[in-house]
């Protein structure tokens, strides 16, 4: 293996130290630029040397991510970033392994890998750029496109129900789910850092605008007019309050209800208090997305960490099994070749 015997004092790195010499080739105005910038901002904060960080990706606009970062990177094949990253992480648990993927890559062609990775829980940081469209192939609908969306392959409107990424993640046994926005850099940065620090598969869904093929898909949550009323930002142990403090979410049994804090005499302590370790509450939050932001009673779209609860990672469990198998010593080469059923043939 490599010679790391002389470890130099790590220089203090800044965001631009993580920029590779390749110029990003994303379209002007693409949300990917903003995500890349926040990743570059977060990496120096982690205190991990660039040589110990690997970005793995599949295929799609977002999967070009590794080329623009001055870490190790592999750009694989469509849908397969997660198994590639898992194989790397399992064989080299000490590395910080990140995955850049999109809604088509992770949820359509790679859907099988998505669910199985989450249940195994290797320590990967998965950044899912969700633009609700296939961008690289020029605008076909994706598994997160809204019903009715007209695209080149759905000229009469999409008729298949989109995936609910949060529900799918939690249903697959994911140990971390958070949602962020390309346009809200500061918040995105904080979420990426949380994801990096979470031990286990951390899934960050980023609403990312594709100005060319699906511009404005997230306008309801980003425009100055709508943002306050249609979004709620989750903070641990804090009540769910939105609309500039005017509305909150009250939990009636399993039923989340929007309440008007001015009118209804409900104090903030009566509201739903966010607990990111509660899988049941996280599941209810996941289904806020089923509600369309079209009236005052509509549930806002949650952003932030829905769920974060560490459990043993795949690579740690495997490492423990190997350690157990080796508790009486590592198998020798001779022992391997001899096996445990060998026999002697004596000279006749």
């Amino acid at each position: 293996m490599t010679d790391n015997t002389t470890i130099p004092v790590l220089p203090v790195l800044i965001a631009k130290d993580f920029a590779s010499d390749q110029e990003p080739k994303w379209c002007p105005g693409c949300g990917d630029h903003a995500v890349l910038q926040q990743i570059k901002n977060v990496l120096p904060e982690l205190g991990i040397a660039p040589e110990n960080i690997v970005f793995v990706s599949g295929i799609g606009c977002s999967s070009r991510l590794p080329y623009y970062l001055a870490t190790y990177g592999v750009h694989g094949i469509h849908g397969r970033a997660l198994p590639m990253a898992t194989g790397l992480k399992v064989s080299r648990p000490e590395l910080s392994v990140w995955v850049g993927t999109g809604d088509g890559d992770a949820l359509s062609i790679g859907g099988n890998h998505f669910i199985h990775t989450l249940r195994r829980n290797p320590d990967l940081n998965v950044v899912l750029f969700n633009n609700e469209i296939y961008g690289l192939t020029k605008g076909q609908y994706s598994p997160t496109s809204k019903i009715g969306l007209r695209t080149v392959t759905s000229p009469s409107g999409v008729i298949d129900q989109p995936f609910n990424t949060a529900a799918l993640t939690l249903g697959s046994g994911g140990s971390f789910f958070a949602r962020a926005f390309d346009r809200d850099g500061k918040f995105l940065r904080s979420i990426l850092k949380r994801a990096a620090l979470h031990k286990g598969t951390s899934l960050v869904e980023i609403y990312q605008n594709c100005p060319i093929f699906n511009g404005g898909a997230f306008e309801a949550f980003s425009s100055a007019d709508n943002k306050a009323n249609n979004t709620v930002y989750l903070e641990q142990s804090k009540p769910l309050i939105f609309a500039r403090g005017k509305r909150g979410i009250w939990l009636d049994g399993f039923q989340p209800i929007v309440v008007d804090l001015d009118k209804e005499g409900i104090s903030s302590s009566d509201l739903w208090i966010h607990d990111e370790t509660d899988i049941n509450k996280a599941s209810i939050l996941a289904h806020f997305a089923d509600d369309h932001a079209d009236s005052e009673e509509s549930l806002p779209r949650p952003f932030g960490v829905f769920y974060a609860k560490e459990r043993i990672t795949y690579e740690d469990a495997l490492t423990a099994q190997i350690a157990d198998a080796q508790k009486n010593g590592i198998g020798t080469f001779e022992e391997l070749l001899r096996g445990d059923q060998s026999y002697e043939i004596k000279k006749a």
């Binding site: 592999v74 397969r80 194989g87 391997l336 070749l337 001899r338 060998s342 006749a348």
Partner: protein, 628 residues
């Protein structure tokens, strides 16, 4: 031998050179276990041995039917044997379906030991015999030496005081048969007793009952008048002294991967998905944690290979194992491994295809897929194992080529090699070829820029793994600029990179051994050119043809891509080339295409291996025609 197995009466013991035995019964009759035990006992005598199990793809096909017949064939001999025997000399038939399914492969004059209870009205009907017909009674077996033995009844009598339930007692009937065969071939029982005691460690009653059943079978042979005329047989052991183990092809592959990792100083990672008949490679390696082996049972075939590519990127000796349908699913990822230029061992255990085909039956029909089954120009080395033991050396060699030439390598075996076994003289680590990974050293800031695709004179790039300071770089499936590895769509660059990748594979021919003639003259009438598991049948047939005075030689290809450098010269030394294959003719196309010659093909696509007689007849026909 202990007193328990001493003959009470004088029975004539005849020495024989070779015997082929088939244990056949219903899949619930425990024939695989019986055969394996018998083989272990034979092997520990130092007798030459080759075994082949043959069972249905259903776990429990309907009892009593032809579809449910499970067989275990073995040949043991005083001289080297390379096949389980073209036909068998002795057949144990636990029921009428087993007899019906296998009678055609029993030598005329061969011995049949039939469990009479399996020939009752119900069983005969299930096996499809006409009403009223019973082969044990109607004289239809008069060309054979028939011994009807009430195996079940005798087992029940022997175990009536064992305290076991009647169902458990009936399950011991295979051990009765084992004891009887031990008597017939003057073999010792102790090894089996030890195995049974170990197997039923937690159930002493069960162990003792099974042991009693073995003894009962042995004593039955001794006491009955049934075998008085036949007598007993003795196959003198001839193996050189030393330490041996018996391995199947699949086990050999698993050991080889672990050994290659040890030799290279790498960690082994196997990403895999269960598929018949390749699964034992995964399950064997899953038990090798003591050696630091990491196995990963992925969600599908694609994740199996892709996780291995991830591990290879990280510096592991990465491998994946599969069979035809799985290799088809892995082809896109193989292209990625080709363009990334990372080492990867792919073991493909071929089975009958296309599609689900014949999952438990061998075929050599994935050669084209191994050679050409990728999109784009994506050449990679293809090598093939020729025997269960050769699965070790071939897999080990695949790992050496992969690591030293930074390329995926496909190692072809098949369902026959995977499940067959033979004794293997335990190998010493020192005798195994060195495997030297070339990791790129860390880079200092003042060093020249790191070029991930800079090649040495063999066109091989260095392995630059994460964790190495100063080598941070990005690679991927997109075409890359020569040396820098940066994405490039430049037309001339793509052509150059395509040529460089092909040249790298072609140059492997410089490091592999020259082709040898396995047997026969260096020049002559006929060369039988084989590959893969047909080795044993060809070897035996050519030996016999040479004994009969024919001018015939045998060469067996391990390296199919690239070919050994002297192959063309060898092919030119014979008037005719015969290429037997278990497919519709694949190697023959490659040979024709490469050397512009016209060999003769001999194909068999029946899901069963060649037998030596078929090949011998073909050889003699061709040579007679040449001479006429």
């Amino acid at each position: 031998m202990t007193d328990t197995t001493k003959s009470t009466r004088q029975v004539n013991v005849t020495s024989k050179t070779s015997v082929s035995v088939l244990f056949a019964g219903d899949s619930g009759d425990g024939m695989q276990l019986t055969g394996t035990q018998f083989a272990n006992t034979v092997a520990t005598q130092g007798t030459e041995l080759n075994t082949f199990p043959n069972f249905p793809s259903e776990i429990r096909a309907p009892a009593g039917t032809i579809a449910g017949v499970s067989g275990f064939q073995l040949q043991f001999s005083s001289k080297p044997v390379y096949t389980p025997g073209a036909r068998f000399d002795v057949m144990v038939a636990m029921n009428s379906a087993a007899l019906k399914a296998n009678l055609k492969d029993l030598h005329r004059g061969g011995i049949i030991i039939a469990g009479t209870e399996g020939f009752d009205e119900k069983n005969l009907k299930l096996a499809g015999y006409p009403e009223g017909a019973n082969p044990l009674e109607d004289g239809s077996l008069s060309n054979y030496i028939l011994f009807p033995v009430p195996i079940l009844q005798l087992t029940r009598e022997a175990l009536k005081e064992s305290g076991l339930s009647s169902k458990e007692i009936d399950r011991c009937k295979n051990m009765f048969v084992l004891g009887l065969l031990y008597w017939l071939y003057t073999l010792p029982l102790e090894g089996t007793f030890e195995t049974l005691r170990a197997k039923f460690q937690k159930n002493v009653h069960m162990a003792e009952a099974n042991i009693r059943a073995v003894k009962a079978g042995y004593f039955f042979g001794d006491e009955t008048e049934l075998f008085a005329n036949l007598g007993r047989f003795d196959i003198a052991p001839q193996k050189q002294h030393g330490t041996y183990r018996r391995v199947t092809g699949n086990e050999a592959c698993a050991i080889a991967l672990t050994a290659a990792a040890k030799k290279a100083g790498l960690k082994l990672f196997l990403g895999s998905y269960p598929i018949t008949p390749a699964t034992e490679i995964l399950s064997t390696l899953a038990k090798k944690k003591k050696y630091g082996v990491k196995t990963y049972q992925a969600e599908d075939e694609i994740a199996g290979i892709v996780s291995s590519i991830g591990a290879a990127y990280g510096g592991a000796l990465a491998a994946t194992n599969t069979s035809g349908p799985g290799l088809a699913l892995k082809t896109e990822a193989l292209g990625l491994a080709v363009i990334l230029e990372l080492p990867l061992v792919v073991i493909n255990v071929q089975r009958g295809g296309p599609s689900t085909g014949l999952p438990t039956k061998p075929e050599q029909s994935d050669l084209f897929m191994a050679m050409y089954g990728r999109h784009g120009e994506a050449p990679l080395p293809v090598i093939a194992a020729s025997s269960p033991v050769d699965c070790f050396y071939c897999t080990y060699e695949a790992a050496r080529i992969a690591v030293e030439h930074m390329t995926p390598v496909i190692c072809l075996t098949d369902g026959y090699l995977a499940l067959s076994s033979e004794p293997w003289k335990v190998e010493s680590p020192d005798n195994l070829a060195s495997i030297t990974p070339r990791f790129h050293a860390p880079r200092q800031p003042e060093d020249p820029p790191f070029l991930p695709y800079k090649r040495d004179d063999r066109q091989v790039r260095a392995w630059a793994i994460p964790g190495t300071r100063g080598l941070e770089h990005r690679i991927g499936g997109l075409e890359k600029q020569n040396e820098t590895g940066n994405v490039s769509h430049d037309p001339e660059n793509h052509e150059l990179m395509t040529q460089l990748r092909a040249q790298k594979i072609n140059q492997i021919a410089d490091t592999i051994p020259l082709q040898t003639i396995d047997n026969g003259p260096k020049k002559g009438d006929l060369l039988v050119l084989g590959w893969g598991s047909s080795y044993g049948a060809i070897k035996t047939a050519v030996e016999q043809a040479i004994e009969q005075g024919y001018s015939v030689a045998h060469a067996h290809l391990r390296y199919i891509h690239p070919f050994p450098k002297n192959l063309e010269e060898i092919l030119g030394n014979y008037k005719k080339i015969l290429i037997p294959e278990l497919n519709n003719g694949q190697l023959i196309h490659i040979i024709r295409d490469t050397f512009l010659i016209a060999p003769e093909g001999f194909t068999k696509i029946q899901g069963v291996p060649f037998n030596e007689m078929e090949i011998l007849i073909k050889i003699t026909d061709i040579i007679k025609e040449l001479q006429s």
